[in-house]
Point group: C2
């Protein structure tokens, strides 16, 4: 949740002059989104999100992210649609930042996750993979395997004794293991790569929105599932909920079949996903952004998740036969 | 701007069960309001604000604040209207906090204030005073004269050498002066007491909303004007804009006539208003709230404003004859 950049009246008027959305009736900063400044914008044409992209998003990636949202929405997926300006572009500039006006989707993210939410999540994820498969652009996953060692080293450097020193040898050993065993050839395509509960809206027992494509990239489909296993299938006390994992995986399978290889690699991919969030959270924890309205999340949660996956022998531990 | 308290799905559903507003379609924390947690709530009936009152608002005052908003809106003033629940109450509880659902008003607060905005402000302020005059409840201004010495002493105590020590003797001398010269009998009634640019929305060259009544109280009407002179009539470089003050006062006079006494006391009331904001900002600066998503405002701005008013001989300095 964050508003980093304020927008003046004049800047907003200038922006809306470039669209067919009428005048701005109100514009309120919302406490949502970590990487960007988000505003709920009411114009004469309706309600929208106005997003200003802050430094952490690479501006060169924006055509990919916005193009993907457009592609997914056009394919019937519940992604918010970026609004085209009069000149056909969906990317503009406000207050010196790249900016986009995006469809406002109703729905609410859930705090108390039920197994039924996991079924719906699995189905939505498989739909995203399926509908995304004919999107023409690609983007390297800059937070996958090859980034982990440099991130680890950056954490080590920033740490200066702040955190529990025991984690470092354990994480380094894990990275070395993953470097030696990471798959090279699994079914791949567009993945969301950050499908946490905050990023899915539910409404009347259906998924009404999947948002925040700013980590989307081209990678193994099953790695996206592994991220969701980590993000959705552990309880607050750290225990693994096998029922939720079974629902997630079966929900996914309702829409897209797994290959045998994907199933075999799932425990390893779950370890990788745990390392990815452990490292980025740890890095953010050690390098808190001045003025950010967001508290960094506890990285240690992911060390416990990693340890769970390390003990997993095969996909049966996730509820699949 | 702040979201201090999060609301779970279940808490929101339980709240809406008590209203005739249908189900919640979305609910987003907004970066608005310093004292409260605010959410933009979309229900099947429309768009609303959901406000959770945090510790800094005295719960016993809430019937006054909400009653006043209701009274003003019923009188045709552009105050947002608190929504009554099925049981007729406009005050409920969510997540352990007192909470109200309030009409959503369109409009945008202005950053770049023009003299024309000051005319509209003056008219709106006089309307508020006029329409508020038959509101039956009263509330003592807990941030007026008698609070300044204790606040000053609390600042002195919290300071521990953090701020420019020269301000303390100067402020103490001013408080003593105000204690000796503060009027006791000027036209009084409901005042807003915090009508800063953030708290007025404009739309298509009209005032579309006056919000944030959580400092409203019973006090001199002209003191409310003095607060507005401080809040609206200085430029960013600290210089006083006499044109804006003239427009403000003349706008006010379009709707409600001043007494001769009110005019004579205006420079003194402006000094008092400057002291009030100097002290509360200084106190907030020294006592930053852990976890608050708001940066305290610079108190020294008000020292300079105070010095301007100290040099004022009569109301001609504010552009009135």
């Amino acid at each position: 949740m964050a508003v980093y950049t304020d927008i003046s009246d004049d800047e907003l008027d200038d922006l809306l002059d470039q669209y067919d959305l009428g005048q701005a009736l109100s514009c309120k900063g919302v406490a949502e989104g970590v990487e960007n400044s988000n505003f709920l914008l009411h114009t004469e044409a309706g309600y929208y999100f106005l997003t200003l992209y802050e430094k952490r998003v690479n501006a060169e990636d924006l055509p990919f992210f916005l193009g993907l949202m457009e592609h997914l929405a056009a394919g019937g997926f519940m992604s918010p649609r970026p609004i085209e300006a009069k000149d056909g572009n969906n990317l503009k500039e406000v207050a010196g930042r790249p900016a986009a006006i995006i469809e406002f989707l109703d729905g609410r993210s859930v705090r108390r996750i039920t197994p039924q939410h996991c079924t719906l999540l699995g189905q939505a994820l498989a739909q995203l993979h399926t509908i995304g498969s004919d999107f023409k652009m690609t983007r390297v996953n800059t937070l996958s395997l090859s980034s982990w060692r440099p991130l680890y080293e950056a954490c080590l450097k920033s740490d200066a004794g702040q955190s529990d020193a025991r984690i470092f040898p354990e994480v380094e050993k894990e990275i070395a293991f993953l470097e030696n065993h990471w798959p090279t050839d699994l079914p791949s395509g567009i993945i969301h790569a950050d499908l946490f509960p905050d990023n899915i809206f539910f409404l009347k027992d259906k998924v009404s929105g999947v948002i925040d494509y700013y980590f989307a990239c081209t990678d193994f489909f099953a790695y996206d599932l592994a991220i969701c296993v980590n993000a959705w299938c552990f309880e607050n006390d750290g225990s693994f909920n096998i029922t939720k994992a079974r629902k997630l995986l079966n929900g996914y399978r309702d829409v897209r079949a797994f290959s045998q290889q994907e199933l075999e690699f799932l425990p390893l991919l779950c370890r990788g996903a745990a390392v990815r969030f452990l490292l980025t959270r740890h890095y953010d924890w050690l390098n808190q952004i001045e003025g950010a309205l967001v508290k960094p999340k506890d990285p240690m949660e992911y060390l416990k998740k990693l340890q769970f996956h390390q003990a997993v022998k095969n996909v049966a531990a996730y509820g699949l036969d």
